[in-house]
């Protein structure tokens, strides 16, 4: 057996790491269930606190938050009919009717168990697929890596945007932002305007805090918490443990949701909401009682919950092996790894094998603690739903400001964060997605570096990208992704026009 596997398991099973995972799961459940707080925001708030921790402990905490955030989202979806996270939207369709019928505990138990099973399946995918993919990725050369990153960007744009042009524009703005600072090849200062603070570029995390947190704080000016409904439905929670009959009912939705979630998690940009709705749809089609769906079907809860939790392990596969984030959360995790001096990618398994396997096993523990904490502490956890937003939102605001400052002990980063917040608001006004910008900021420097190294090595011969088989393969995929997006956009407009006529 690979000694890194044993070392990784030992590392992930140390008391400090386990405690960090448990703390992450607790915070994740709380963050996930509060409508208006996404998992990304939760991680952004917690991230500055992890700077002082060891990398393995820091990542373990964030993984716990990621996994449990997905499950926590279902609590408010079931109790309030307000999904705590976008991934829990499909859960509300059947979860809330069950809660209204006095079966809130049963619905939550099913959601927690399905989340656990989906997460466990994606752990197995991560454990078996990630090392293999990393081994293949080790053979990639600069042109292949450039094309891979390029493909990652195009697929994210096509998934994340209603309009491909706006998605691509968002990504290009991100690429323009990463050109600020020292050029990665020669160290020449670019677009720094003689500002010392800009020489090392705009920090990814400050941009992230502004882009995600500020629009969310503004959103919450409008939304008021339905605390009365929460209290009423929470009072109905009697037994959370699912019965044998429910476990039998969950076989089909979990068998559909877990593989769909894991697969879509691997695809950059697809994410939890898409996986949840696809698995809900397939389960409904294959179920013996499709008419029950929408009126409180246990299968209608298990399918999306297993899928959205399976996405977590799937999204970690491209993040760890290729350095390409599958969703905003894994993009933040890449940022966290970079802060600790670890670069995700194929070399992670070679140079830091123990850490890589430690991360995989921390993910396993995160799923275990997720179900344990959720089942035991559910009755107390749901009380979080009644915390007044008037306290919660200002607290998040000051945590974001302090988080931006703590990054480099610099007020400049606080102003940059606010600037990105305004940019986020402007992008929302224009219906322009934020995720491509964020991912372009993560991948931009790699993209430039691989492009320039390839061109230098080939003496400025651009055909190098078409003569390397892997590179050609990724470029074809990128072209197909762009073509498909344009075609889908065109078709949807045609449909809309027909409807209008």
């Amino acid at each position: 057996m690979n000694p890194d596997i044993i070392d990784g398991f030992t590392q992930a099973s140390q008391l400090e790491t386990i405690l960090a995972v448990a703390a992450g799961c607790f915070i994740g459940l709380v963050v996930g269930m509060i409508p208006g707080l996404t998992i990304s925001t939760g991680i952004i708030i917690v991230l500055p606190l992890t700077f002082v921790l060891e990398p393995e402990i820091s990542i373990a905490l964030l993984l716990g938050l990621y996994v449990s955030g997905m499950t926590g989202g279902s609590f408010s979806a079931i109790l309030l009919n307000i999904p705590g996270t976008p991934s829990a939207s499909a859960t509300a369709i059947d979860g809330n009717p069950m809660a209204k019928n006095g079966e809130a505990g049963r619905a939550l138990g099913i959601a927690i168990t399905a989340s656990f099973l989906g997460g466990l399946f994606s752990f197995l995918c991560l454990y078996f697929i990630a090392p293999l993919l990393a081994e293949i990725a080790l053979k990639f050369q600069s042109p292949d890596l450039f094309s891979l990153v390029f493909f990652g960007l195009t697929i994210i744009c096509s998934f994340a945007a209603k309009s491909l042009v706006k998605g691509l524009l968002s990504a290009v703005i991100g690429l323009a932002i990463v050109t600020v600072g020292q050029d990665p090849m020669m160290g020449t200062a670019r677009f720094t305007f003689d500002q010392v603070n800009l020489i090392s570029g705009i920090h990814f995390l400050t941009a992230l805090i502004g882009l995600f947190a500020v629009p969310q704080l503004v959103d919450n000016f409008a939304d008021m918490m339905k605390s009365e409904t929460a209290t009423k439905n929470a009072a109905n929670i009697k037994s959370v443990l699912p019965k044998l009959a429910d476990l039998k009912l969950m076989r089909l939705p979990v068998a559909i949701g877990a593989p769909i979630g894991s697969f879509l998690g691997i695809l950059p940009g697809a994410g939890g909401p898409i996986a949840a709705f696809i698995s809900y749809d397939y389960t409904k089609k294959l179920s013996k009682n499709p008419k029950e769906f929408g009126n409180g079907s246990p299968q209608g809860i298990a399918a999306p919950e297993s899928a959205n939790n399976a996405v977590t392990g799937g999204a970690l596969i491209p993040m760890m092996t290729l350095g390409i984030p599958g969703d905003p959360v894994t993009a933040i995790l890449i940022g966290a790894l970079l802060i600790h001096g670890l670069a995700p990618g194929p070399l992670l398994f070679v140079e830091n094998g123990e850490f890589a396997y430690g991360l995989i096993f921390s993910f396993f523990w995160a799923n275990i603690f997720n179900i344990v904490i959720a089942l035991i502490g559910l009755r107390y956890l749901v009380k979080v739903l009644v915390i007044p937003r008037t306290f919660l939102m200002p607290t998040i605001a000051i945590l974001c400001v302090i988080g931006s400052y703590a990054l480099r002990n610099n007020f400049f980063d606080v102003y940059v964060m606010f600037g990105f917040g305004l940019l986020g608001l402007a992008m929302r006004w224009l219906d322009m997605p934020i995720v491509p910008l964020l991912l372009a900021m993560v991948l931009g420097r790699q993209l430039e570096e691989h492009l320039r190294v390839s061109l230098i090595a080939s003496k400025n011969d651009v055909t190098v990208f078409f003569t390397h088989p892997f590179s050609l393969f990724f470029l074809c995929l990128a072209a197909a992704s762009i073509f498909w997006s344009f075609w889908a956009e065109h078709k949807s407009k045609q449909k809309q026009d027909q409807l209008e006529i």
Binding site: S163, K166, L169, I173, D219, P394, A406, L430, R452, D497
Partner: protein
């Protein structure tokens, strides 16, 4: 012209202007006299070209009859509240280096509580003072992140 098309038009014009500014700055980047290598301005030029093409695409979309005229769901926030929030934030960010994190956070927190709908003065006072102090000491004592105390430097030792 529909609301969304008008927004696309405004965005396209702003992006084209930004693109022109970015191109000007790129053209003025220093060059390096090393053979067979790409210049520091190489990637920014690639970005400029793509941005210009896409901005023109967006401009064309603003005039195309097939474009969806749906106005996206943006914010259901009253404009007044949004403006007060922005003014409060700007005042906070400007005064933060002088006031420090405790003296700066208390009025900012109180202002936000009011904007989020809290109208009971004792709750606002208690919430803003307590939470600002708790967060400050949490970061300073537990996470060892030194936050500037500003005008309260003598008090918060």
């Amino acid at each position: 012209m529909s609301n969304m098309r008008r927004r696309n038009l405004i965005a396209a014009i702003i992006l084209l202007l930004l693109c022109a500014g970015y191109a000007y700055l790129t053209a003025n980047l220093p060059t390096r006299a090393i053979e067979n290598t790409t210049q520091p301005s190489f990637f920014p030029w690639v970005v400029t070209v793509i941005m210009a093409v896409l901005s023109l695409g967006l401009l064309a979309q603003a005039f195309l009859p097939t474009i969806s005229s749906d106005t996206p769901k943006t914010f259901d926030v009253p404009a007044k509240r949004l403006i007060y929030g922005l003014v409060l934030s700007v005042a906070y960010f400007v005064s933060l280096p002088t006031l420090g994190f405790v003296a700066g956070n208390i009025p900012f927190f109180a202002g936000l509580m009011y904007l989020y709908g809290e109208r009971r003065p004792p709750w606002i006072a208690a919430g803003s003072i307590l939470i600002s102090l708790i967060v400050f000491f949490l970061f300073r004592e537990v996470f060892q992140i030194l936050l500037p105390s500003g005008i309260l430097q003598g008090v918060l030792r």
